[in-house]
């Protein structure tokens, strides 16, 4: 456990000295929080004409409780589209942090002395994963917390607030978010173990945001609605996917191959 903590602390000490990473960890969650709050602020009060809900996609009407007025229904609809942004945070931050974790050590030649210590592959990978996972999850939770506080300030109707903070979003942020972060971490570590160039690692790791963007645009286009059932299915699939990725990232982390094939 001590070795894992040493790796986590070492990663943080190194990674947060990088301004780009610091910017991603701080700025991205703030931006993702500002967008739904901005929409809420812009569409507050009479900003939305009554009766607009009749023009909303049929499937969204199903999520509009009868206690809400048309304008409020529209706000729930709009903000629901952007709540997926909170799922973008846990995939983007780990990709930025962990993409560099192995390839960066290769580039600075620090991997060989590190692998010569009695640390096991599992301890090393857990340490590197946690170093990327924890900031991602904390940033997501903090960003969502800021959003809740902001929404409470902007919304006076308790029914509206409850509709906005529906259980599906709580599941999405508190369960699916960490699972997605784990997926991103393992994907990035696998990429980082196989490539030689930190830039390539970062670019390839960013591909993990594609599924989240697909969900965002799919819902925006009305192809499907992220209801509670779908989010639970996503969570279930992610649990399986994460287990496979953890196994693969340990299997693919071949000390010898990493040391000898990289020049």
């Amino acid at each position: 456990m001590n070795k894992i903590l040493t790796i986590v602390r070492k990663e943080w000490s190194e990674v947060f000295k990088n301004r780009m990473v610091l910017f991603t960890v701080l700025f991205l969650p703030l931006m993702m929080t500002a967008i739904p709050l901005g929409i809420l602020f812009a569409t507050r009060g009479g900003a939305v004409p009554q009766g607009l809900n009749t023009e909303m996609p049929q499937q969204m009407n199903a999520f509009c409780p009868p206690s809400l007025k048309g304008g409020e229904c529209f706000q729930v609809y709009m903000i629901s589209q952007f709540m997926i942004m909170f799922m973008l945070i846990p995939v983007t931050i780990p990709a930025t942090i962990s993409a560099y974790s192995i390839v960066g050590e290769k580039a600075t030649h620090s991997l060989e002395p590190l692998l010569a210590t009695p640390i096991t592959t599992a301890e090393l990978l857990i340490g590197k994963s946690l170093a990327a996972l924890i900031p991602a999850v904390v940033a997501t939770y903090v960003a969502f917390g800021i959003f809740i506080v902001g929404a409470m300030i902007l919304i006076s109707n308790p029914a509206f607030l409850l509709a906005l903070l529906d259980a599906r979003w709580l599941i999405a942020v508190f369960v699916v978010g960490p699972l997605m972060a784990l997926m991103a971490v393992n994907g990035s570590i696998m990429v980082s173990s196989r490539v030689n160039d930190p830039r390539v690692a970062e670019q390839l790791s960013m591909l993990v945001i594609i599924p989240v963007l697909a969900i965002f645009f799919g819902q925006l286009a009305g192809l499907f609605v992220l209801n509670r059932q779908l989010i639970l299915i996503i969570a279930f699939v992610l649990v399986i996917l994460d287990a496979v990725l953890v196994y693969l990232s340990i299997q693919l982390f071949q000390r010898e191959t990493i040391l000898t094939r990289w020049k």
Partner: protein, 302 residues
Amino acid sequence: MITTQNLSKKFGSTLAVDNLSLDVHEGEVFGFLGPNGAGKTTTVRMLSCLISPTSGKAFVNGYQVGQQDTEIRRSVGILTETPGMYDNLSAEYNLRIYANLYEVKDSPGQVEKYLRMLGLWDRRFDPVATFSKGMKQKLAIARALLHEPRVLFLDEPTAALDPESAHLVRDFIAELRKEGRTIFLCTHNLDEADRLCDRLAVFKSRLLVMDTPSRLRSQLFGRKVVFHLRSVDENLAAQVRGLPYVTETKIMENKLVVNLEDPEAHNPEIVRLLVGAGADVQFVGELRHSLEDVYLQLVKNA
């Protein structure tokens, strides 16, 4: 302390290490010489359990490579070809990381001990990025010693260092030998090997030769004694050549070079003969071939 038995390593179709068998004794500095690409680093990596052998066996500190890798990693220190420090972090923090990974009990004490010993204590809070090459190398040596390993693998410890830093590192290695540590030293620096090593192995994918530096010289070139005379002629040389234990003589200006197997035993008799023949003996000395001559001859023959 280190034993290998027919140790081999193949990368695809390339045989990097071919049936290496050697023994490194406890407390000795063992020089491992060879040209670039000879497989020295591959050997060190196998012995420090960074890569696994394709065939053969190796034992380090009593533990078998491939079977007890964690125990080996715990009991050896390694200085890799490049220091590989975390440049953005301080020297002290770099060492603290490794002290924790090696499970050093008195981590702050050990870090302080080696930072002071290598003259880096005053710069302990500075980022390693601000260090010179020599300072980084010294820090990497400190890192290799934090857990007080009995066996040390040093891969080119003075490469790319200025003469002053190289001298300091060499002195430090000599100090480590006094402490009774076993040192496996890969080097290109033949003068360094000559000065530091108890025994040497010349290696080029396979072991070419292994012995003490002086024996290697005599095996390859024999032992030669130079008699500095006021004047020398062929008649004098012929008299010396007539002695049963003299294998060869050569005249070089006013010097008579004599090949002998046991100069300590035969020199007095030769001096007596020369004086008896009327020669004025000015000096007597041994003609030493440099280790470089030995090395070049061996590698050329390989």
